[in-house]
Symmetry: C2
Subunit: 484 residues, 2 copies
């Protein structure tokens, strides 16, 4: 089969990598981070040339990438994520004794990670998927994103150096170049155990379908973006129109609108001040010169979808940018709640600096919206304290549709921390039980195994009586750091 | 669509059920357990009549069923399962402040549970799937197993009484009668959010395929059984043949071999004493009169598959029972490792009181077996202390293929506790990341959501500053019961 050699190497590396002590795995993650830092300006310049993203943004993204690796290093050393769980034997229990049972998470095996065009560093070669897979103990077969091959090669070199420095096999991270057909073959390889992807709905869903049709299906964690609605409540809008417009516009423009969490849909109360809000919004967008998008295909798709939107009944384009080969000019459209409720096309993501403002009459109508809404990465509710307090019913409905629910600020800017969920119900992702950002991302690449009546010598350190790693474990249903 | 009414009712019930305090949810689970106990002998007699399982076994199974409900009640009250995780705001962080982030698991919504023929109580109407789904906060749409409709109705009545007693909506648990087409329609209903199933590979895989092909795919937790190999190491076999044969035979015969964890494959060293082991094994099986299987179709399939086995090259049937309409006579076959390695058909489960003994020459050959082995619910390694200590390489290979790895005892008898994993890599299940027995089973029916910068009043109790439920939570990466 294609890529047999790659997966044989990954499988061989897995046999050794899965047995490394947590400290060694953490050391590898930190060494990768250091090696990426060592790439210095060359990495930023290369990524800038390939992605057209500004250097300041890329500097931030590099910080995110290395911090993420270091965060997973600490997580792995700490060990709670393994869900070590021990039920001690009850030899005298009637009618039947209870055996000694010890459970923990173990790595799935070699996983396929796809690079993302919009984050050449933080969601690509050594991005969150790679970091969490390596942290879990899984070798990575990485499919580069064709939009930033040189950036990818540089980061790959950093990972290779780190593996050498740690005296670990090359098979722990392998870099594969190619397009869709290559991606397909990797996902279809019998030795692939899971897939991580960030990108378009079409791309993610295609991989999911391939993985389901395998002889032995495997999990696909595809983060496919969404429209990230903001609900502005009526009192909040009063007197704040200008500030809200500025805040929304800034979020829409971030990274030329090429963020998975770009707020592309804004529900706004129909009131006397609404035209002023729209005017400020348009003005803020207009004030920022069109910037280069990631690549021509994304740009072409952006203008193509804007045209499609223009053709929708009852949609007014307030700000309609002139088409360009590479620059994505901001766009703003408006429609009414009735139109939006009737037309599922108005829920579709337009990847780029664009937002659709939907005006509503009564705040109760937002419950209809929440019911109609597809799965989202984020939803945002802007209201006065008084309004928010009265919104528990709406909140109950909205939380069913997203992975993250914001009550202030903008959805762009996804914190890499413990409590983050970057995920959400389909079609935001193919697995609502997972997050692709934050420490819980590691759980995607592990599964439980239970050792029954095992001799101490054959148990992993994590499950031994004396708790040699000093970890939190659940013993007979109680969290504890005790030894047995 | 078919079953729109059922799912509308479930969705309506969900709106209320998901908001119940943990104590109220726990109370419902305990009340269901009490109501099942109240059914008394009638339940046992009915289940006996429909399933042909002996009353002693059914008494045990009822105990397991009600204990399971009570265990989930305690789990829900305790609250750690929710993975409440809080990252406090860092308003002064540069370059950008960190917002307040609070994450926890929330229920998926209405789930479809299928009854299993081989456990009319513990894996059926109010069995482990129902108990864990209700514990998670998900309404259940239950598809009864046609082999025990009256048992199912009795348990359904108990659940209805419990719902009434707790003044909760009927839509929390709905009971649907029907065959495969009904099951298909339930899985395909847009409002179904997950599926739990225990049964055959054909059945489970078909549901998985249906769920993948939905417009919005949903998780399917299908536990599809396996052959549960036992590996007997050479030293262990010396002098213990009779005892090992007796132990294996007893496990094979349990429930007329109709356990998902029935050990259908035994790797045994080829030695002088091997014929004696086989003879004792056959004798122990022969000594037990053939008992009635669950229903005629299962019995017919059993004999059909035995015939198919007989036709395999290099397989000797040592004990070949006379065919019957309902009684499943025990069967024993033997083959060599070389034959087994060559013939994938010899890995297939034969549901009934049957085992295949595979003789090997060198203990190192077992590593080849481990590599060739499909995913299993359990694997068992029987060896002397000395042999087990020398088996770490074999253990490393075997653990990749199963959900539970035993070092003594038999795989039948699945403890309902915290550290249990009743699951395993495909084709044992469709989701190796899950267990269908034990408290972790609850995780199947939940997904994370993160509240960002939420006012205290809008946060669930579990995430409020003062920790009103006194739960374990992860605060800035540290487990703690502290308030903020």
């Amino acid at each position: 089969m294609p890529y047999d050699d790659i997966f044989a190497k990954a499988e061989q590396a897995f046999a050794r990598y899965k047995k490394l002590p947590a400290t060694a795995r953490a050391h590898l993650l930190r060494t990768i981070a250091d090696e990426i830092d060592n790439l210095g300006d060359e990495l930023l310049q290369t990524a800038h040339r390939e992605s057209h993203l500004p250097l300041t943004r890329l500097t931030g993204e590099r910080g995110r990438t290395v911090n993420q690796l270091r965060l997973f290093a600490s997580l792995v050393e700490e060990g709670t994520w393994l869900e070590a769980t021990i039920d001690t034997a009850l030899p005298d229990r009637t009618p039947i004794p209870r055996p000694d049972l010890r459970r923990m998470l173990i790595p799935l095996g070699p996983v396929v990670v796809f690079g993302a065009s919009n984050f050449p560093l933080a969601f690509s070669t050594a991005g969150g998927d790679t970091a969490s897979a390596l942290a879990a103990g899984c070798p990575v077969v990485y499919k580069e994103h064709p939009a930033h091959p040189q950036t990818s090669q540089l980061v790959y070199a950093a990972i290779k150096s780190a593996l050498q420095e740690c005296e670990l096999p090359e098979g722990i991270f392998q870099h594969v170049r190619g397009g869709k057909e290559v991606g397909k073959q990797l996902v279809e390889h019998p030795q692939a155990r899971a897939v991580a992807f960030t990108g378009s709905y079409q791309g993610g869903k295609a991989l999911f379908d391939l993985a389901c049709r395998r002889v032995a299906p495997i999990p696909v964690y595809a983060e496919m973006g969404s429209v990230n609605p903001i609900f502005v409540l009526p009192e909040k809008a009063v007197g704040n129109g200008e500030q809200l417009a500025a805040q929304a516009a800034q979020s829409v423009l971030l990274g030329v609108g090429q963020f998975c969490t770009c707020p592309g849909l804004i529900f706004y109360p129909a009131a006397e001040a609404t035209p002023a809000f729209l005017e400020t919004f348009a003005q803020k967008l207009r004030d920022t010169p069109a910037e280069k998008m990631l690549h021509e295909t994304i740009c072409r798709n952006y203008y193509h979808h804007l045209k499609g939107l223009h053709a929708q009944e009852g949609v007014d384009l307030i700000l309609s940018p002139a088409e360009d080969i590479l620059s994505g000019g901001a766009a703003l459209a408006k429609t009414t709640l009735q139109q939006w409720l009737q037309n599922p096309a108005l829920q579709e993501e337009i990847f780029g600096p664009y937002a659709l403002v939907v005006t509503y009459e009564e705040v109760t109508e937002l419950q209809q919206v929440a019911k109609k809404l597809q799965g989202q990465l984020t939803c945002t509710l802007w209201g006065t304290s008084h309004e928010l307090q009265a919104s528990s019913e709406l909140v109950d409905l909205i939380r069913e549709k997203c992975g993250r629910l914001l009550f202030s600020g903008v959805p762009t800017g996804v914190e890499v921390s413990h409590a983050m969920t970057h995920g959400g119900p389909f079609p935001a992702t193919t697995d609502s039980r997972s997050t692709s950002v934050g420490t819980y991302a590691i759980k995607r690449f592990a599964r439980p195994v239970t050792f029954q009546s095992a001799p101490q010598e054959l148990l992993p350190e994590e499950l031994k009586d004396e708790n040699p790693l000093g970890m939190w474990r659940t013993i007979n249903g109680q969290l504890s750091k005790d030894s047995l």
